[in-house]
């Protein structure tokens, strides 16, 4: 469709509306930017952690490269080249103290690696590689002169000739600056630099000052590592390192759905370690029950509020909002007082002789406790949308139904109820979304059975420190919530969420 001046109508329209659009965006922009920065980015940042795995590559850069040539299906440990790389990497990591963190990371995949790395970190300085150091220094004192080293390492020809030495020296120099706060040109290089120098020389490279190497008895690094712990020549350990050496991993996600990457690909975890699928299901089932309870309790209240004169309804509404505004922690504690076996409700029931003193009900530290407390907490989120939908159903529909001959019940069930279904839908999705992500209340009253996946996430964040797994669980949870949110938007429309009135 063209406008009078021959331009497309849409274009003319856009031109005409530009000012309005800019004005609207100008008003929204500050908040949008604020939310993006203060909220959305943090969440993305966290989700990234579920696949991030740079720690292996960053801590063992040389080893990871050297391992590329190793066949993980072979039943033997890698060769000396890999161990040489590992030697340098661990020696440096031990100074940075990152080897234990790597150990913890790999321990998620294979129990025992944590202590292997810790032990190795402590022992790696005591390798017998000082024979190289001594041999070089004995051959020419220049090799013991830090300034001389620094000079060589600025000479491009030498750098090109001695690739391993250069690489090792640079890393060492950086470490000296960052960790020890010293100047490399004043420090004698450490054993592993000489080890690299020896390796270069043994490979036929020309040394700055030639040295006769034939007298040196080479040290087997593989043997040295094996001496610290036999595990170093266990191919399983190396398989794990290699499998988790890429910068990104699906390991956390596999773990989050009770799978693991075994010898022949992805497989289920052993039965006694399967936890998360069950937890997800538990979270779902409990959220559904909470949702159901909220509908059952919220519907009559919303109906009453919607049909009372405005004044009384607004006063009663305060009863709905008051708990909503009372500290969550306090309400949850109050439920403890009410629900426990020696608690108020049991006492009352015993006093009324409904139950016997030894037949007190267990209503807390299990799913019942969580469901009761969470129903209480989320009930307002059901009542408010239901109420706002019911407010819009004119009483004339019920009257019409009755004038057509319907009894009270038929009129309600056939005419009123179907029209309140959108409210039920809105409330249900809202309650479900909120409950599925709950954390504090289940933590306090849920016992072992009544906890949600969020509690596991919190546990991994603050106790077990497996942040990657926490992020993976979080990502899955967030995806579920987002799907529900999207449904909510489709069905109800986000703008139709109402809080009160």
């Amino acid at each position: 469709m063209l406008a009078a001046d021959g331009r497309p109508l849409k274009a003319s329209l856009n031109r005409a509306l530009r000012r309005q659009k800019i004005r609207a965006l100008f008003l929204i922009a500050p908040l949008l930017i604020f939310i993006l920065v203060s909220f959305v980015m943090p969440i993305f940042d966290m989700l990234l952690r579920s696949v991030e795995n740079q720690i292996v590559g960053n801590t063992l850069p040389r080893t990871v490269v050297a391992l590329q040539d190793w066949d993980e299906n072979a039943d033997t440990a890698p060769d000396e080249v890999v161990f040489a790389a590992l030697y340098t990497d661990i020696a440096l990591a031990a100074e940075y103290k990152t080897h234990t963190r790597l150990g913890s990371r790999l321990n998620y995949e294979m129990t025992g690696i944590s202590s292997l790395f810790r032990k190795t970190g402590r022992a790696v300085g005591r390798f017998e590689t000082d024979v190289y150091t001594e041999a070089f220094q004995a051959a020419d004192p220049a090799y013991a002169d830090p300034a001389q080293w620094a000079g060589w390492m600025q000479d491009d020809n030498i750098r090109a000739a001695l690739p391993q030495t250069t690489n090792t020296y640079d890393a060492w120099a950086q470490m000296i600056v960052e960790e020890e706060n010293d100047i490399p040109a004043e420090e004698e290089p450490w054993d592993f630099v000489y080890t690299a120098l020896y390796a270069d020389a043994a490979g036929g490279a020309a040394l700055p000052i030639s040295v006769d190497l034939s007298a040196i008895e080479p040290v087997s690094l593989q043997a040295s590592f094996a001496e610290i712990d036999e595990d170093w020549i266990d191919p399983d350990v190396w398989q794990t390192i290699k499998a988790f050496s890429p910068s990104y991993t699906d390991g956390y996600f596999l773990n989050a759905v009770d799978l693991l990457r075994g010898a022949d690909g992805v497989e289920q975890r052993p039965e006694n370690e399967r936890l998360y699928i069950g937890q997800f299901i538990n979270t779902f089932v409990m959220s559904l029950s909470i949702m159901g309870m909220c509908v059952l309790l919220g519907y009559p209240i919303a109906w009453l509020l919607a049909n009372l004169p405005a004044r009384s309804a607004n006063l009663l509404m305060i009863l709905v909002l008051l708990p909503f505004w009372t500290s969550l922690l306090v309400r949850t504690s109050a439920w403890k007082v009410l629900l426990q076996q020696q608690g108020v409700i049991n006492d009352l029931l015993v006093w009324m002789r409904i139950i016997a003193d030894d037949g007190r009900l267990t209503m807390i530290n299990n799913q019942t406790g969580t469901i009761i407390a969470m129903t209480h907490i989320l009930l307002p989120f059901m009542i408010l949308p239901l109420y706002s939908v019911m407010k819009t159903i004119p009483p004339s529909y019920l009257r019409a139904a009755k004038s057509l001959g319907a009894t009270d019940w038929t009129a309600f069930w056939r005419v009123y109820f179907p029209q309140s279904v959108p409210g039920i839908g809105a409330g249900c999705i809202l309650v479900f979304i909120l409950s599925i992500g709950y954390y504090i209340t289940p933590e306090l009253v849920g016992g072992t059975k009544g906890v949600f996946i969020s509690n596991r996430i919190a546990f991994h964040i603050s106790s077990s420190l497996n942040w990657g797994l926490a992020a993976a669980l979080g990502t899955i949870l967030l995806t579920v919530v987002m799907v529900l949110y999207w449904m909510y938007d489709k069905i109800v429309g986000i703008d139709n969420v109402k809080l009160g009135g």
Partner: protein, 348 residues
């Protein structure tokens, strides 16, 4: 950052424990130095938070009170500063070096020991069945026949697994070796299975005392200081069962990366707060034992109740007949694995 020149953030566990530190160390130190101290009670998340602070390069804490296992972990990861004990801490009044005075409590290069405590059991004296001896220790928790009623145990594998094996007849020396094997783990879980549905699992130290006070449980594990305050300060009808108490250490670590002036301030505080007298003073407020040998004789009476504190210490010989020493290093390796299994077992 929000640090003023005269402010220190000290992280500890809160509750009566923090109060004892406040009385024994903070208040005298504040009076002496004029520095103000902010109490943070996030010690239970210390490792996580220190890690995040370290990643961010912004350390907001000056001194952290942690259990020995965490101290080892923090030290290994370079999150806690290594300290030269003799240089940083005071010698004993008799001149014994700090190293010798603390002795075996120095479990890590970063760890400045403070107290010994134990995880042990309290029980309701008024719920002990008639004609039965009151429970004496950890193994009674598994004896539902003699001592019916609910129990409370910590919601993680540490201590519970050891007790389960021990009370199932495994020798003390073999417990960790057994736990390394699948069969050992299965045995421990099987033992725990016998009381699983009678157990409330706690996550915070305050829960067991509350449950005992409510009469919700018959017996439960918790830190011995909590039980002391429940019995002695609150006068609840609760007794203690010391056998196979799980022995543990608690102390300070200094986060790495403090600026020089903050470090100097922290070290000054540490020097003050860990001398022989202060450590003994703390025991006047809570029944945790001082880690210096030289402090032991100085332990006196409770500051307000006036009762003798020594008999309530985990180290008191009559309490320490059977003591279980936690193997921190072993747990460092097996914690993730057993944790997953333990949580899966709980959820079953």
């Amino acid at each position: 950052d929000g640090h003023m020149a005269n402010e220190m953030t000290i992280v500890s566990w809160g509750g009566a424990y923090s109060a004892s530190q406040d009385n024994a160390y903070h208040q005298p130190y504040i009076a002496q130095s004029g520095i103000s101290i902010i109490n943070d009670e996030s010690a239970s998340e210390a490792v996580a938070k220190l890690r995040a602070m370290n990643e961010a390069g912004n350390i907001t804490w000056d001194l952290v009170d942690v259990e020995a296992a965490d101290a080892i972990r923090l030290c290994d990861e370079g999150l806690a500063m290594e300290v030269d004990v003799d240089e940083v801490l005071a010698a004993a009044p008799d001149g014994t070096s700090a190293t010798d005075d603390f002795g075996g409590a120095l479990v890590s290069d970063c760890f400045i020991p403070q107290i010994v405590f134990s995880t042990t059991f309290g029980y309701r004296t008024d719920m002990v069945p008639e004609g039965v001896e009151p429970p004496s220790g950890a193994c009674d928790v598994f004896d539902l026949e003699t001592y019916p009623g609910k129990r409370a145990l910590n919601r993680n594998p540490i201590a519970n697994m050891e007790w389960a094996l021990l009370c199932d007849g495994v020798a003390y020396e073999d417990v960790y070796d057994m736990l390394e094997t699948d069969e050992g783990q299965a045995q421990a879980f099987a033992k725990l299975d016998t009381i699983k549905d009678q157990t409330i699992w706690w996550t915070a130290g305050a829960e067991t005392p509350q449950l005992l006070a409510d009469g919700e449980i018959f017996m439960g594990s918790t830190y011995n200081g909590r039980l002391f305050s429940l019995i002695a300060e609150q006068g609840q009808p609760v007794g203690m069962a010391w056998d196979w108490q799980m022995f543990d250490l608690d102390g300070w670590v200094i986060p790495t990366g403090l600026s020089e002036d903050r470090l100097a301030r922290t070290l000054d505080y540490v020097y003050f707060a860990t001398d022989t007298q202060r450590l003994a003073d703390q025991a006047a407020y809570i029944s945790y034992g001082p880690t210096r040998q030289s402090s032991a004789p100085l332990v006196g009476k409770h500051a307000t109740l006036g009762i003798d504190m020594a008999p309530h210490m985990p180290t008191e010989p009559s309490n320490a007949e059977n003591t279980f020493y936690n193997n921190y290093l072993w747990w460092a390796d097996y914690r993730d694995d057993l944790d997953a299994k333990f949580q899966a077992w709980l959820a079953q």
